[in-house]
Amino acid sequence: MNPQDTFEYDPQILARISSLKLQAMGLVEGILTGHHRSHHKGSSVEFAEYKDYTPGDEIRHIDWKVVGKTDKYHVKQFEQTTNLKCTILFDASGSMGYVSSHDRGLSKIDYARTLVAALSFLLLKQFDAVGLTLFNDKVVSHIPPRSKPSHFQHLLHGLASVEPGGVTRIQDVIGGLVERLPGRSMLILVSDLLTREKTLEHTLRLLRSRELEVILFQVLHPDEVSLPFAGDIVFESLEDDPSVGLDPLDVREEYRGEIQRQIAHYRIICESLGINYVFLETSTPLEQGLSYFLLKRKSQLKQ
């Protein structure tokens, strides 16, 4: 499969992310690096390989022991390591596949892909290791965290291969995954959180108990917030719920109240657990969402 066929990657977005990253680098890189450093002292660099000395290389990186033995100048190359491992949990359930019939903008899944790609890019730019796990009611695919820039391609491929389907089972997935996650790492959960599960709070609490830094992105399409439909409509579920035939006018107010209550509920939970919760509608520009997120992170780190 050619990734370009299915992965509708907008180069403009990436360019914007890149520029945003460039802008953000100066603002947040030090904070992030410093922040990580303070947390993970002594585990900075790892030897990777030798290379012949060429003028311009730092003299202090010449391995003098090898010079003594071989009389050749070899420079020690160290693998650029980071002190942050980030796993992105990407919800690939059926509900993420919602495509609006009247909105020609980014679909929910594309929006989430772009978001994950941007985050990945941002993190990789900072030489943080980024992994990607796709799930619905189980783990669909898993890309372990790596910090190489070339890893970005793997991530893009993984994102491109996402086919929304199945039922959302966050609790089951995270419950099975949490043991394998590296301790003190970062977990980014990208989902619409449209699930009948009532135990998300418990799951998040479990993550926090593992000292994981959790960032929760809830991505919803505006249709899912405002229910703008009219007429006699049969709503067929993208997951396994039975179809419902109704006039949306009859339930719109009730629905809107319900979804807002849910959003508020997640926000409150996340605040109480120290989790960064970001609510994004697909109508919100990604830059705006990301910059808002970074600014918010920055303000949090300053505290």
Partner: protein, 719 residues
Amino acid sequence: MSLQFLSPIYLLGLLAAGIPVLIHLLTRRQQKHIRFSAVYLLSQSRQRSIRRSTPNRLLLLLLRCLAILCFSLALAHPIFSFTGPQSLLPESPSATVFILDDSFSMSAATKTGGSLFHSAAEKFGTLAKSIRKETSYAVVSGSAEARVWKGWADSGESVGKLISGSVASFQTTSMGRAIAEAVHLLDETSQPEKRIVIFTDLQKNGWTQGDLPEFSSGDSYKIQIVDFSALQAQPNRAAIESVSVDQEFLTNTRIVRVRAETRNLSKTQPLAQLAVSLWTHDKKLSEGMIDLPSQTLVARDFSFPQPGGEPVEGYVEIQEDGLMPDNRRYFTFQPDQTIKVLVVDGDPKTVEHQSESFYVERALNPFSVALSNIEPTVSTLNELPQRTIMDYSVVILCNVRELPLGFEIELERYVLHGGALLVALGDQVDPKYYNEKLGSLLPVTLETILTVPPDQDAFHFALEESGHRALNVFTGQPLLEMRDIQFHSIYDVKPREDAASSIPMRFSNGSPALVESDLGKGKILLFTSSLDRDWNNFPIQPTFLPWLQRWVKYSAHSLESLSHQDLLVSQPLKRWQEGLPGTTLFVQMPGGKIVRPPQSTDEILFRDTTHPGVYRVYQMAKEENPGAQEPVETVVPALPEGTELAGTFTVNVDTGESDPEKIPLAEIQKLLGNLDVELIPVDELDKSTAPQEGFPFTTPLLLLVSGFLFWEGFLVRRE
């Protein structure tokens, strides 16, 4: 169980039930299908929403359709009954003979305005349409004629039209003959199931054992009797049984008296002030009222003058009741049929009672005024040439010595043309002249006078009861009196060899007393004694008057008048006088139709007496071609020239059919022996004729309509 509709046209309204469906289809919003993520939230929201009830459009549609359907059905007035219509037609192939009673009791009016026969014919018509092909059927009339309307092979369509276009006859019921005919027809078929279906009013008159065929134990005819009597609007209350007409005697005015006898047919109800009217020549002459106790016969007399002496035709009528044909009875009367008689006195005397003609004149016209229908004129021999004998019906020669010269030739022509000659002998008679000159007239020759000595027993009539029309009234005492009459002298006569004669009366010694012979159209009678007291004491006997009058009337062909024939429907007209065979007759029927009866030599002249009324008989005055009469009855458009009225006769219905009493099923069963007999009242045969007997469904349907509309309104209001 059956469901019928009084106004089925409103069932077309059922089509209106499609209107809501049409509106629903036209206004139906396009239902969209959207694949959505948060369907579980929608379900939760709907459950929590107060206005969660989506209007069930299909339920609304159903309610509206049902309301329209019920309303249409209610307008059509449905009638539901648990007892379904009884079928006369079997499922299996069969042979069925339908007997349609067309007697005049079936012409009784029904509640709907038609007649019972009309209802029966209609019922048969609808039934005939549903007869399956494998069922063969025949139709027989139930009146006295027992006519086969349709045999097995005849077309059903033509018989349907024939029956629906016909009316009840004026004949009596003869169910026995009809059943016999039906059995005869059924015996011709090989179908295993044989049935007889009778449409009748169960009039008791027609069920007689004598006409019914003999049923054996192997006969398995199934007989179904459909009783139409329940449809009769009102019972037959009274009938005129007889009308007699005579002329009042011994009065100076010619008064005709009509006596009509009317019977109350009801067993319980008397009839008060029943109007009886007399009509002659289509004009009402008189009307009266009579009170009739139940089951009694009451006579009502009408009198009216008839000075002209013309024939009277008319009828007596009572006011309408359930059955019309027996409310009217026809009569005809010939008031004065005067027979002019020329009495030729051969021995006139100056003392009146000594004249030869004295007793004859008194016997023919006893009251000296023209009140009897015989008008004698006495003439002497000298006056005879001045008389025109053709003006007289009868010429009586009393003790005539000899006739004026050449008069015997005139007399012969007179007899040849139909005149009657009565010759009485006496002492003046010259036997030689009689034997020579009157040889062509008299069938006998006069021989000698036989005289009884005074000391010996006189001659008497050797008379027995006779079938002769002139003598058949002399029975019992009059006959004994006749035998006691003493005759002292009589002529001995000897029959001529070349002349035919008969001798209706003889004397005790065997000599002929009266010799009868025909000549041409006329008749000649020879009495071998005298008509005065010279030779006998006959003229002073009581029997002399009827004896002489009857012989005069007999010879003048007026003993049996045509007008005396009062026939019943279907009774044939018989020959009423001799000498008719060669006569061409025409009969004008009550409707004006003129037929020429077929030529025949038997007693019956005319059979087509199917309708009650006055029939006129005409005969040709001058027979041009006596042998040209057709052998079959022919209808002629108008009376030919040269016909003259010979007389009239009446045809009336047989009031035996008027009896309103119905025969019960048990009696029919008894008459028909071991056959399977079923009696079906007509209203059970087809409930459509009496739909009011079911349960009307209109109100429940209207209640349903209101219920549906209320429910529909409730649902719409909730929406």
